[in-house]
Amino acid sequence: MSVRRASYLVAAAALAGLAALAFGLGRYPISVPELFTLLGAKLTGSEHALSSTAETVILQVRGPRVLAAMVVGAALAAAGTAYQGMFRNPLVSPDILGVSTGAALGAVLAIFLSLGILMTQAFAFAGGLLAVGLVYAVGSRLRGHDPLLALVLTGVVIGTLLGSAIALLKYLADPYNELPAITFWLLGSLAAITPRDLASATPAALAGLLPLLLLRWRVNLLALPDDEARALGVDTRRLRVVVVACATLMTAAAVAVSGIIGWVGLLIPHAARLLVGPDFGRLLPLAMLMGAAFMLAVDTLGRTAASIEIPPGVLTALIGTPFFLWLFAVARRTW
C-alpha cells in the first residue's frame, strides 16, 4: 500500500482509538465494562446500574470534551492547511492575519467587564472575525505591493496593536480577580466545555469547512504566482477572500471555546503534507484527522495526568517544538 493510503488509515485508526481511550480516561474512575454498559444502555434506551454521577461524567463532561477536542483540532489544522497553501509558505499558522489575537482581545475585554462565559465566547468569536476583517480591508487596499505580502504585514501590524490593547487590559484588570481569569483564558483550555459550546462551535466550523471542501481543487492554484493562477482562469482575489473567510471562521469558532492553542495549526498541516503531498483535496482530510487526534491526545493528557489541569497550549508547545525540529532536520528540502 502506498504511503498515502496508509497515512489515511493510520490517522483514522489512531483517531478512533484515541477517542475510545479518551472516553475511558479521566480523573473520575470509570472502568471499561462500566463504560460499555452505560453506552449500551443509552443506545437501547434501557436502564443501567451505574451512578448518575458516572453517567454525567461520560455524557456531560467527557463526551462533549472529547468531541470538542476533535473539532478544535480539526478546525485549527484545516485553517492552517488553507493558509499555508494560500500564502505559499509552509511555516504559516492560522494566526497570521490576527484571528487569535482578535479573539483574545474580545475574550479579555469580556472578562474585564465580568460578562460571563457565554459573552466571553461571543466576544472572542466576534473579535477574531473583526480583526481579520480589518486586516483584510486595510491590507487589500495597499496597492503596488504583492497582495500576500501586504496582507501579512498588515496582519503583523494590527496584531501588534491588538496585542498592546490586551496588555493594557491586563494592566488595568483587578489583580485579585479578573487578571487570573484572563491569564487562565489566554493559556487555553477545554476544561469548561459544555454541550452547548459544542453545539455553537461545530456549525461555525462546518460553515467554514464546507466552501473549502467544495473549492479544494481551486485552492491548489493559489500556490502559483498570482499571474499564473489568473492566466489559468482563477479569480485569485475572490478565491483568497473565500479562503481567508473560511479559515478565519473555523479558527474563531475554535478559539472562542478553547482559548488560544498554538502549534496545531502550524505543525499538523506540515506533517500531513510530508505524508501525502500538497494537493489540497488530499491534504485537507488527512490534516483534519491528524489535527483531531493530536488535540485529543493533548487534551486527554492535560486532564488526566495530574489532579490539576495542564494547559493544552503548554503541552502542544512542549510536544510540538521538538517534533517540528525533528521534521525540519529529517524531511527533504521540499515540502
Binding site: 505559499r88 481543487w217 500556490a223 504566482p225
Partner: protein
C-alpha cells in the same frame, strides 16, 4: 485571432510602452525581440488581460479583451511563464492538470476527460516518465517543458510564451522551437519572446522588435532582423548571414 491597436501599456503612474500595433492570425507564430527592460513581459501581461491597457485596445477573436471573463480568456489563451521552483512539491502530472482549470466549474475537480487531456499534453512534451516526479525535483528545462504541457492542457488557441528558451540547454531549446512549429501546424497561434534573434529565423513567421516600449519594426524575420535594427536594439555589431537552403543566422562581430 488577436488584434492590437495603438496599445499603450504599463503600470499605474508609469508608462512602459506606446503605440504597439499588430495582428496575429490563427496558426501564426510571432517572435518578440528586444533588449532587457524593453517592455516584453509587460506587453505580454497586458495581452493576457493581467494588466489594464493604458491606451488603445486589445481584441481577442474580434471582441475587446475587457469583455471576457477571466476564465473565458483562459480557455483561449495559454500562458507559459518563465518557470521557477515554487514552494510545494506538486508532481509534474498535478502541475499539468492545473491547466484544466479553465474548463472546470467553480467547485469541480478534474475528471477522467481532463486527466486524458493532461496525459496527452505530457506525452506531447515527452514527459511521461517524469509525471510522478515532484516539480521541485526536476531540472530547469524539464520544468519549462512541464509549464508548456500545462498551457497545452488548457487547449488554447493562442499560446503566449515569455522567454521559453531562457535557461534551457541547447538541446531543449531546439525541442521547444520545434514544438512551437508543430503547434503552429495544428492551427494554434504562438507569441513568444526571446533574446536570441536566430530563434526568430528558426521558428517565427513574423517578428516584432520592441525597444524602450516602442515598436521598431514588424515583419518577417528576413525583413526586419537586419544589422541596423539589431544594432539599435542591442548596441552591438551583428552580421546577418544567409544560409544555403533559405535560412539566416546572426553572427556578431567579436571585435570593434
Amino acid at each position: 485571432m488577436l488584434a492590437v491597436e495603438s496599445l499603450g501599456f504599463g503600470f499605474p503612474g508609469r508608462a512602459v510602452g506606446r503605440e504597439v500595433t499588430f495582428g496575429l492570425a490563427d496558426g501564426e507564430v510571432m517572435c518578440v525581440l528586444g533588449p532587457n527592460g524593453g517592455g516584453k513581459t509587460t506587453l505580454f501581461r497586458t495581452l493576457l488581460g493581467l494588466l489594464e491597457p493604458q491606451e488603445g485596445e486589445v481584441r481577442l477573436e474580434g471582441r475587446p479583451l475587457g469583455a471576457y471573463a477571466r476564465q473565458a480568456i483562459a480557455r483561449r489563451i495559454g500562458y507559459v511563464p518563465q518557470g521557477h521552483a515554487g514552494q510545494f512539491a506538486y508532481t509534474v502530472r498535478e502541475v499539468v492538470l492545473m491547466g484544466r482549470t479553465a474548463h472546470l466549474g467553480a467547485f469541480a475537480a478534474p475528471g477522467r476527460a481532463d486527466r486524458e487531456v493532461a496525459e496527452r499534453a505530457l506525452a506531447l512534451l515527452g514527459l511521461e516518465t517524469l509525471a510522478e516526479r515532484p516539480i521541485t525535483q526536476v531540472s530547469g528545462g524539464e520544468r519549462q517543458l512541464a509549464l508548456v504541457a500545462r498551457a497545452l492542457a488548457q487547449e488554447p488557441r493562442l499560446l503566449v510564451m515569455d522567454e521559453p528558451t531562457a535557461s534551457l540547454d541547447f538541446g531543449n531549446q531546439v525541442r521547444i522551437l520545434r514544438r512551437i512549429r508543430a503547434l503552429s501546424e495544428h492551427g494554434i497561434s504562438v507569441l513568444f519572446s526571446t533574446h536570441d534573434p536566430d530563434h526568430a529565423f528558426l521558428a517565427a513567421d513574423r517578428a516584432l522588435l520592441l525597444a524602450e516600449g516602442r515598436m521598431i519594426a514588424l515583419g518577417t524575420p528576413k525583413d526586419v532582423i537586419r544589422p541596423d535594427t539589431l544594432a539599435r536594439m542591442y548596441g552591438v555589431e551583428v552580421e546577418v548571414v544567409p544560409l544555403a537552403g533559405g535560412g539566416h543566422t546572426c553572427l556578431p562581430a567579436m571585435t570593434g
